[in-house]
């Protein structure tokens, strides 16, 4: 019998596959992982505390910087929370614009998630570049509407910052078939890839009960077979008026999470098609004072962000600044199950599993 000793090594914080500054303390028995401890906080900027000394409107640009890949969703969640707190009504056109932006953001996020999963697996940058090509076109739409590619600051309490420019909707209508084609292309070229399947099937298994116990949300939860989506469970905005499904997978491994993201992209495109058809004319925002003073009270609003349930908890004491500004980031909470997924696997699989959870470190550390 060969006697082996466990060793402890650091993976990160500067590591090409950790999607940011993130450190994992691995205890290894040979190549097998015995224990894993995620260490984060390298990107902590104190956004919650900073926002408490700003007005409600001034905190909108900060929400862009929580999860910089899907800034529109963050704006959306924050706007819904402030509206709930202050009792603001939103015009119908603004709601449609918000849904369009949120679903485009979901597409952007899942493109990157799928692309970088392959990047982590060693298909160095080929799938990512194809994903980036489509993403860049969506970001051009964002830039056309909001003036910035990533730090959009577009969805505000009360509506959106400005009406859509005239060329936005024709451009989007033209784009949707191409995006559908992109998802088909990814499926066709990558889903049956033998090397990918050998690396992904059965790796990073997360059973449904454990996913619920860790309060995992988003594609990771649905890939484990739990049919839960905030858009259906607690419809916000106008999501109850759209016809779409909540896809789920059975396996709960890396491959299932990959397929789950592709399925969700299809559903997003379905919503986009309906929204583009039905978007009404009208006002794009209700007038909200720049120094908004919501009545005393508290509000928690949550939306289905691309990575999971994104919530904002705001407490008002009647002054222009929030008394408490709390953010429930999907990345941090999905990351908490990393240890359970990794135990018993090899070091190379950690990279894959981390890529399949799809975290943004700015969202984890805030």
């Amino acid at each position: 019998m060969l006697k082996t000793e466990t060793i402890t090594i650091n993976m990160g914080p500067q590591h090409p596959s950790t999607h940011g500054v993130f450190r994992m303390v691995l205890t290894l028995n040979g190549e097998t992982i015995v224990d894993l401890k995620p260490m984060f906080g390298y990107l902590h900027r104190g956004l919650e505390k900073t926002s408490e000394s700003r007005t409600y409107l001034q905190a909108v640009p900060f929400t862009d910087r929580l999860d910089y890949i899907c800034s529109m969703s963050n704006n959306f969640a924050y706007a819904v929370a402030v509206e709930k707190l202050a009792g603001i009504e939103v015009p119908l056109r603004a709601e449609y614009i918000r849904v369009i932006m949120a679903e485009l953001t979901r597409l952007v996020n899942h493109m990157l998630a799928v692309g970088f999963l392959f990047n982590d697996l060693g298909a160095w940058y080929t799938p990512v570049v194809y994903a980036f090509r489509e993403r860049e076109r969506i970001l051009d739409l964002f830039e056309m509407a909001s003036g910035s590619r990533m730090m959009c600051n577009y969805i505000r309490p009360g509506g959106v910052a400005a009406d859509l420019p005239a060329e936005f909707l024709p451009q989007l209508r033209k784009m949707i078939p191409h995006l559908e084609n992109f998802v088909r292309e990814i499926r066709f070229y990558l889903s049956d890839n033998e090397i990918f399947k050998a690396r992904a099937v059965g790796v990073g298994f997360l059973p449904a009960d454990m996913a619920v116990a860790y309060s995992i949300t988003g594609p990771v939860l649905r890939a484990s077979g739990v049919k839960y989506d905030v858009r259906k469970a607690e419809p916000y905005s106008i999501y109850d008026q759209f016809d779409f499904d909540v896809p789920t997978q059975v396996a709960g491994d890396v491959y299932a999470r990959y397929l789950q993201r592709l399925d969700e992209m299809d559903e997003s495109l379905k919503i986009l098609r309906q929204a583009v058809e039905r978007i009404p004319e009208g006002e794009y925002a209700t007038k909200v004072p720049s120094r908004l003073r919501p009545p005393k009270g508290e509000a928690y609003a949550r939306i289905e962000a691309p990575k999971g349930e994104l919530g904002f908890y705001l407490v008002s004491d009647g002054s222009p600044n929030p008394y408490r500004w709390r953010n429930r980031p999907p990345s941090l909470i999905n990351l908490s199950a990393l240890r359970e997924m990794c135990l018993g696997h090899k070091v190379a699989d950690v990279v894959t599993i981390l890529g399949s959870i799809d975290i943004t470190l700015a969202d984890v550390d805030r």
């Binding site: 700003r54 409107l57 001034q58 905190a59 909108v60 640009p61 900060f62 080929t126 076109r137 051009d140 739409l141 830039e143 056309m144 509407a145 909001s146 003036g147 910035s148 730090m151 600051n153 910052a161 400005a162 009406d163 420019p165 451009q171 033209k174 784009m175 191409h178 070229y189 890839n193 033998e194 090397i195 050998a198 720049s290």
Partner: protein, 176 residues
């Protein structure tokens, strides 16, 4: 069985490489002609294409949020700013500081400091302005050789003169 996968993958790559060239040859006047980059999101453009950056630039969208600029009154040539301080209060980062003199309608701006290095280009200052005094320009090459990131009123007016607009929010469909 892995050998099969590799060959299949390489075949896909080859097909893609050939496809790009084929499309490029089919539409011979390539989009690498001047003016071909005007529509950057267009799906009808095909072929091999790289933007030769310092010589060629993308046209920024009208709403692009770049560095701040000051606007002039078209008749008098004076800055529109009345030093009311709304932008100073609206800024989430304390980037703007200003001084003014005079009372009521005669109030004028005397000094305006804008810290480019800390600006996050959120456009909240412009939205707070009621006097058509400031707007975000489409300047995006904002790096400096020295640490002179603080722009004074004259620098901001100079950027504004380059664009020649006198009203804020024209591209945004909001004019007051």
């Amino acid at each position: 069985m892995y050998g099969k996968g590799i060959v299949k993958g390489l075949w896909v790559t080859l097909k893609h490489i050939w496809g790009t060239y084929a499309k490029d040859i089919k539409r011979f006047p390539r989009r690498y002609a001047p003016g071909g980059i005007a529509k950057r999101t267009d799906y009808d453009l095909y072929g091999l294409f790289t933007l030769q950056y310092p010589e060629e630039r993308y046209e920024m969208f009208p709403r692009f949020r770049g560095a701040l600029m000051h606007l002039r009154n078209p008749e008098t040539g004076e800055p529109n700013c009345t030093a009311c301080g709304a932008c100073e209060r609206a800024c989430p980062h304390g980037v703007i500081s200003l001084e003014g003199e005079g009372k009521g309608k005669d109030r004028k701006v005397t000094a305006y400091r804008y810290d480019l290095g800390r600006c996050i280009f959120c456009r909240l200052c412009v939205e707070s302005c009621n006097f058509n005094a400031i707007e975000l320009s489409r300047e995006y090459e904002l790096s400096r050789y020295k640490k002179d990131f603080i722009l004074e009123l004259d620098d901001l007016l100079k950027i504004g003169d380059k664009y020649g607009i006198h009203k804020t929010g024209e591209a945004w469909g909001v004019t007051e």
